[in-house]
């Protein structure tokens, strides 16, 4: 390895961070300006800070509800998807199932479809097929959690599979010889080694669910409406309330950041493969 030059590395990351953060900083700038000031000559620095947008957003019960829905839907979906993908990848990686590579490829095709036309069949499924008496899947958090599997589950399976495949088979064979059940192998051998992959999958599926817009806009109305959709209600054809939208957008970064920083800790080299005995 080349000698480590931390100063150069830190300088590089600092410069890159400025580029990365600039649009987010600008989002913040928009959120603390009164509407009229947005359309004057821009300046990089803020002279005055106008908090009214935040006061308005934080005091809004509806938006708080949307926020709660978003947190429930994203977390529910990310956990469900990561668990199912973990099971599926283990099966695809370790069992000799007929046609498994075709199944693997088929899963990803569910992410390829352009969304616009598929809104209609989803809408019909949600309002006319999944109906029990007065209850409909439409506008429920459960519905959204299940629906988001269509794009998140293929994603999770595809990002997790290389990780699981890379775990040497000798490890689970050794454990099986020692009398471990499939469940014990998954829990004691695969899970700890797949932790970085699982963490990244969890983060990214959470983010995809959090940011999803088209499906939530079509398939929810109030009870399960998400904050991303709520925020878009301020983007209208007659004129956008940029300030309010930006303030909501900034606030929605907070839960996402918390999830990120908690889960990111697991993206480190876990137990290494030194455990394999030759």
């Amino acid at each position: 390895m080349r000698p480590n030059r931390p100063f150069v590395t830190v300088l590089f990351w600092t410069l890159l961070s400025v580029l990365t953060l600039f649009p987010i900083y600008w989002l913040f700038v928009i959120s603390v300006k009164p509407a009229v000031e947005l359309f004057t000559t821009p300046s990089v620095l803020l002279e005055t800070v106008y908090w009214k947008n935040y006061v308005k957003v934080l005091g809004d019960d509806t938006l708080r509800r949307y926020m709660f829905n978003s947190i429930m839907i994203s977390s529910g979906n990310a956990l469900l998807v990561t668990t199912l993908a973990f099971m599926a990848c283990y099966a695809l990686s370790r069992f000799d199932l007929a046609g498994k590579e075709n199944i693997f490829f088929w899963t990803i095709t569910n992410r390829m479809a352009p969304a616009a036309v598929f809104l209609l069949p989803f809408f019909l499924l949600f309002t006319q097929v999944f109906v029990i008496g007065d209850w409909k899947l439409y506008d429920t958090r459960t519905g959204m959690i299940l629906l988001y599997c269509t794009f998140n589950l293929p994603f999770a399976i595809w990002t997790l599979r290389p990780t699981i495949d890379a775990i040497p088979k000798e490890l689970d064979e050794a454990a099986t010889v020692d009398g471990a059940t499939t469940w014990q192998v998954i829990r004691e051998v695969i899970f700890p080694l797949a932790r970085p992959g699982l963490a990244v999958t969890l983060i990214l599926t959470w983010v995809f669910a959090w940011n999803e817009f088209l499906l939530a806009a079509t398939l929810t109305s109030f009870n399960a409406r998400t904050i991303t959709t709520g925020l878009s209600e301020y983007v209208t054809t007659t004129g956008t309330e940029w300030g309010t939208m930006a303030a909501i957008a900034i606030i929605t970064l907070v839960p996402a950041l918390i999830v990120f920083s908690v889960v990111q800790r697991h993206i480190v080299a876990g137990l290494t493969f030194g455990a394999v005995k030759e």
Binding site: F122, P154, L204
Partner: protein
């Protein structure tokens, strides 16, 4: 080998969910694609018209143009993101002060919703009120106007996409890199391999599956981009950034031409599938050949 029944059981929930929410809607769209249907038009009923929709799209210049620009967009965006994302992931493998902090900053763009990303970039780049044209004009005298210049508008959508999605590549490749066994690297160093040789003969073969998966995901997501570009350029100027996703959106929503929209979606889905399948076969086959016995 243990009983395959356990394997199928582990796969069953995934197959069930994707069958209900994937295959059923697909069949519906496929059915509609063979009909003339505009629910808000003069005749709101579905009329079977055979392959007319498909015949129409082959000669639809707007659609063909949009396929072309979408491919160009996906190519530039995905290649840059994967190259950049891999480099950054490698940099995160080193020890340096504030690594966790910089990693969090680097992943921030991901947590901004696409619709917000598009809005911010639009406000930043709109001539006369945006900060970027203003600074460029003052510093270099260059006049950035995405409403007028097709190439700039296209380049800007690519840059926005790179800004937004490179962190995804970094994260997935970082997860793959930290999971790699250490022994092959140590062995290669003992054998006196240089950095390039280590990359080419040790790292790359081991993380090829992860790179492949990431390229796929980014490729298909880039091919169906809607929200961000819609907010940034609205598909303009002219049809310069009217990517297929936007094209379908415009057919289905303002025009409510469901029959034709469905046919186009089926074709786009088919093209994406074929492209990914060819890539998959080419790269996976090669990996299997190279795998040491």
């Amino acid at each position: 080998m243990r009983s395959n029944r356990v394997g199928w059981l582990l796969l069953a929930p995934t197959i069930a969910i994707l069958a209900i929410f994937g295959i059923v809607p697909f069949l519906y769209v496929l059915y509609v694609a063979f009909h003339q249907w505009n629910p808000f038009g003069a005749n709101p009923y579905m009329v079977y018209n055979g392959a007319d929709n498909f015949r129409r799209l082959v000669f639809d210049a707007e659609f063909l143009t949009s396929i072309g620009v979408t491919m160009k967009f996906a190519f530039f965006a995905v290649v840059s993101e994967v190259a950049l994302g891999y480099l950054l992931a490698q940099l995160f493998m080193r020890e340096f002060p504030g690594r966790g902090f910089f990693r969090t900053i680097h992943t921030l763009p991901l947590i901004v919703a696409p619709i917000v990303v598009g809005s911010v970039w639009r406000l930043m780049t709109t001539p006369s009120i945006g900060i970027i044209p203003y600074l460029l004009k003052n510093w270099t005298g260059y006049d950035l106007n995405i409403g007028r210049d097709a190439t700039t508008a296209f380049a800007l959508t690519v840059i926005m996409d790179i800004w937004h999605w490179t962190p995804l590549v970094t994260l997935t490749l970082l997860a793959a890199l930290v999971s790699l066994p250490k022994e092959p690297f140590e062995q290669a160093q003992i054998d006196g391999a240089n950095r390039w040789q280590i990359f080419w003969h040790v790292t790359l073969p081991m993380i090829r599956p992860a790179i492949l998966a990431t390229v796929f995901i980014r490729l298909m997501d880039a091919l169906r981009t809607v929200d961000e570009v819609w907010m940034l350029t609205g598909g303009g100027p002219g049809a310069a950034t009217r990517y297929v996703g936007l094209h379908i959106w415009k057919l289905v929503f303002p025009k409510t031409d469901y029959g034709y929209g469905s046919a186009i979606s089926i074709i786009v889905l088919y093209l994406t599938l074929v492209m990914c399948w060819l890539l998959y076969v080419a790269l996976v086959a090669r990996r299997d050949q190279k795998r040491p016995a």
